[in-house]
């Protein structure tokens, strides 16, 4: 395969705290996510999943091991290098984290505003296009306040994708949604990511959505292990 792996972790370890309070949360983690691959990460809470996500998302300084994201080594990356890399990474959070004072359209445009060399109008049209493709073409000018939970999460997806990311990180995107809405949101997420050739690493507790993954990994006490491909979809 020609394209570099979206994510390549080698022997990644991470600690929190200092002195006697120092606690290891990641213990020699190895993981590869190919370009365009959808990988789901499960595991009990407090096992280090979110820490892994923040390290891959270039939000935290790497302490030990190698983290290569989209071909860039993050182990010794400066603050500025990490900030620039983040522009290629879309992030979807547990809460929607939309800007409360912006309309749906303006929120999505905050994503496309990061793209260089495009006129304001082009970026705005693109934001509208993304909102239509997540099924919110009629809610362009609503504030987050006036949208339902599922709608807000769909705006967040549109915002994440509007910056043309090559990697999408999602932290329990269905946590605040009912099961049917959650299912719709992740399916939309997978479809759009596929269309963009964008790799996805998603942390989830939700057993009903595991079947959308190309691959499942499970984390326990800072160790990572490959998990069985879920069989829900296959059960009659």
């Amino acid at each position: 395969m020609a394209a570099p792996a979206a994510i390549e972790l080698k022997n990644l370890s991470h600690w929190y705290g200092v002195g006697s309070m120092r606690r290891q949360v990641l213990q020699g983690v190895n993981l590869q996510v190919a370009a365009g691959e959808v990988v789901l990460l499960t595991g009990p809470s407090g096992c280090g999943k979110t820490t892994l996500l923040t390290l891959v998302g270039a939000l935290r300084q790497v302490q030990q091991g190698s983290v290569q994201v989209l071909g860039q080594q993050l182990a010794d990356a400066s603050r500025g290098e990490r900030q620039r890399l983040r522009r290629s990474i879309g992030m979807i959070f547990q809460g929607h984290n939309l800007l409360r004072c912006l309309t749906a359209e303006q929120n999505v445009q905050m994503g496309s505003d990061l793209l260089p060399g495009m006129s304001y109008r082009a970026r705005r049209d693109q934001a509208r296009e993304w909102l239509r493709s997540v099924g919110l073409g009629d809610e362009l000018h609503k504030l987050p306040h006036d949208l339902s939970g599922g709608q807000k999460q769909r705006v967040a997806i549109a915002r994440a994708l509007a910056a043309h990311p090559r990697l999408l990180l999602a932290d329990e995107p269905t946590a605040a949604l009912d099961s049917q809405t959650g299912r719709e949101v992740v399916e939309l997420l997978r479809r759009l990511a596929r269309e963009q050739g964008c790799a996805v690493l998603m942390v989830t507790h939700d057993p009903r959505i595991l079947d959308i993954a190309d691959r499942l990994v499970r984390m326990e006490d800072g160790h990572l292990m490959e998990a069985e491909r879920p069989t829900i979809a296959a059960t009659p």
């Binding site: 979110t50 998302g57 983040r86 992030m91 800007l99 990061l114 006129s119 504030l143 915002r159 910056a163």
Partner: protein, 395 residues
């Protein structure tokens, strides 16, 4: 690139106006901020306006003199304590080829008895030869002729009402008589001069009457000597030469120098300037506190959103720019009502106190600069809160 090209490019590359939206979509917070800034601006306008107005008012009379150069005693400190010097010095100055004419002036505060209530109050009295020019205003000359009769005075109708209803009585055709230093005087006419800091009212009289009212004045001594120069001569040069030629018991000033001498006294030797400047500074500090509070809580409330933007790849610098732009917008929006209210209040002050308080460009610019500094400094302090926006914490 042409300006038009630049503007088009700027317009094309613009982003969502986050600062503006943050402010306008939170109307209550915006209203609080604008009220605070306007209040601070109004306070600064008022204090600085009063200060400048009072300094301006201290030289109401000084501005009226028909003179290019003014001689005073070096012992004089201000219009309320003018010392005498030999009138001979003024005559000596006549020797200079540029000098066209001179007017010796007696100047003192005398006790005027209110003709209605019989109470006394000190009034600035100028004594001069009725045939000499005193003020640039030509309407004085015919009235001055009335002073050739002994015991006659011209009363300033803009004097404060505490001196008695002199002007209305006079206009009604009554003979208005009063007492100065125990001597009877009669009002021969009215003039319009204006009050100042040091003098609540003004009185003009002839030298002869003046000396009668103040018999202890040493003979040949005057307080102010007015010198008029021939057209085309440079007052500053002549003043310098006269100062060198004349003995050191006189000081030669240009007319502007005479005005500055008076204003300088009020500015430096009294606490007036300090008090009003302090008042303006208070407004500045109050404004700072309010704007800082508003911006700080605004940043705090939106901390997760700022962190999200950082996680999306926005630079910290562009987020600092958002806070800075909020400060800039607040300064602009807050200044306009302050300016309008300042105009209104100046009008009110003018009509209530006769103080010459006007909105001049310098003060308008000064207050805007203060508001700008206030908002930007507050924004800079509030920005420190942004350092707490850690994108790693939002997952």
């Amino acid at each position: 690139m042409s300006l038009h090209g630049r503007l088009t490019r700027w317009w094309q590359t613009r982003r969502i106006p986050l600062a503006l939206l943050l402010l306008t979509r939170q109307p209550v917070r915006l209203a609080v901020a604008l009220a605070g800034i306007s209040f601070a601006g109004i306070l600064m306008f008022m204090q600085l306006g009063f200060r400048d107005g009072l300094f301006d008012a201290s030289v109401t009379i000084h501005r009226l003199f028909d003179a290019d150069l003014v001689l005073i005693s070096p012992r004089s400190t201000s219009s309320v304590s003018m010392a005498g010097f030999p009138k001979r010095r003024l005559v000596q100055a006549m020797a200079a080829p540029e000098v066209e004419g001179i007017t010796p002036v007696h100047w003192n505060l005398l006790l005027w008895r209110n003709p209605e209530t019989r109470g006394t109050r000190s009034i600035l009295t100028l004594g001069f030869e009725p045939n000499d020019p005193l003020f640039t205003d030509p309407s004085l000359a015919p009235k001055a002729r009335l002073l050739t009769q002994k015991g006659r005075v011209l009363f300033d109708e803009q004097s404060r009402p505490e001196f008695g209803p002199v002007a209305p009585w006079f206009k009604a055709g009554r003979t208005v008589e009063s007492e100065i230093a125990g001597k009877r005087v009669r009002v021969a006419g009215l003039v319009g001069l204006g009050t100042s800091f040091g003098a609540d009212g003004n009185l003009l009289t002839s030298s002869e009457t003046f000396l009668e009212l103040l018999p202890n004045t040493p003979p040949g001594s005057i307080e102010v000597g007015l010198i008029r120069l021939k057209p085309g001569s440079d007052p500053a040069v002549v003043a310098k030469r006269l100062q060198a030629q004349l003995p050191s018991d006189v000081t030669v000033l240009t007319k502007q120098g005479f005005i500055d001498f008076e204003q300088n006294y009020w500015r430096t030797s009294t606490s007036i300037g300090f008090i009003f400047t302090l008042g303006a500074a208070m407004g500045f500090v109050v404004g700072c506190v309010i704007v800082y509070q508003v911006l700080y809580s605004d940043v705090s409330d939106h901390l997760p959103e700022y962190a999200t933007l950082m996680a999306m790849g926005y630079r910290l610098l562009s987020l600092l720019g958002v806070v800075a732009r909020e400060g800039l917008l607040l300064a602009a929006f807050g200044y306009l009502p302050a300016y309008a209210a300042g105009q209104g209040l100046y009008w009110l002050v003018r009509s209530a106190t006769q103080l010459p308080v006007f909105m001049d460009t310098t003060r308008a610019v000064t207050v805007f600069s203060m508001i700008l500094v206030m908002c930007m400094a507050s924004a800079a302090l509030a920005m420190r809160r942004l350092a707490d926006a850690d994108p790693a914490e939002i997952f």
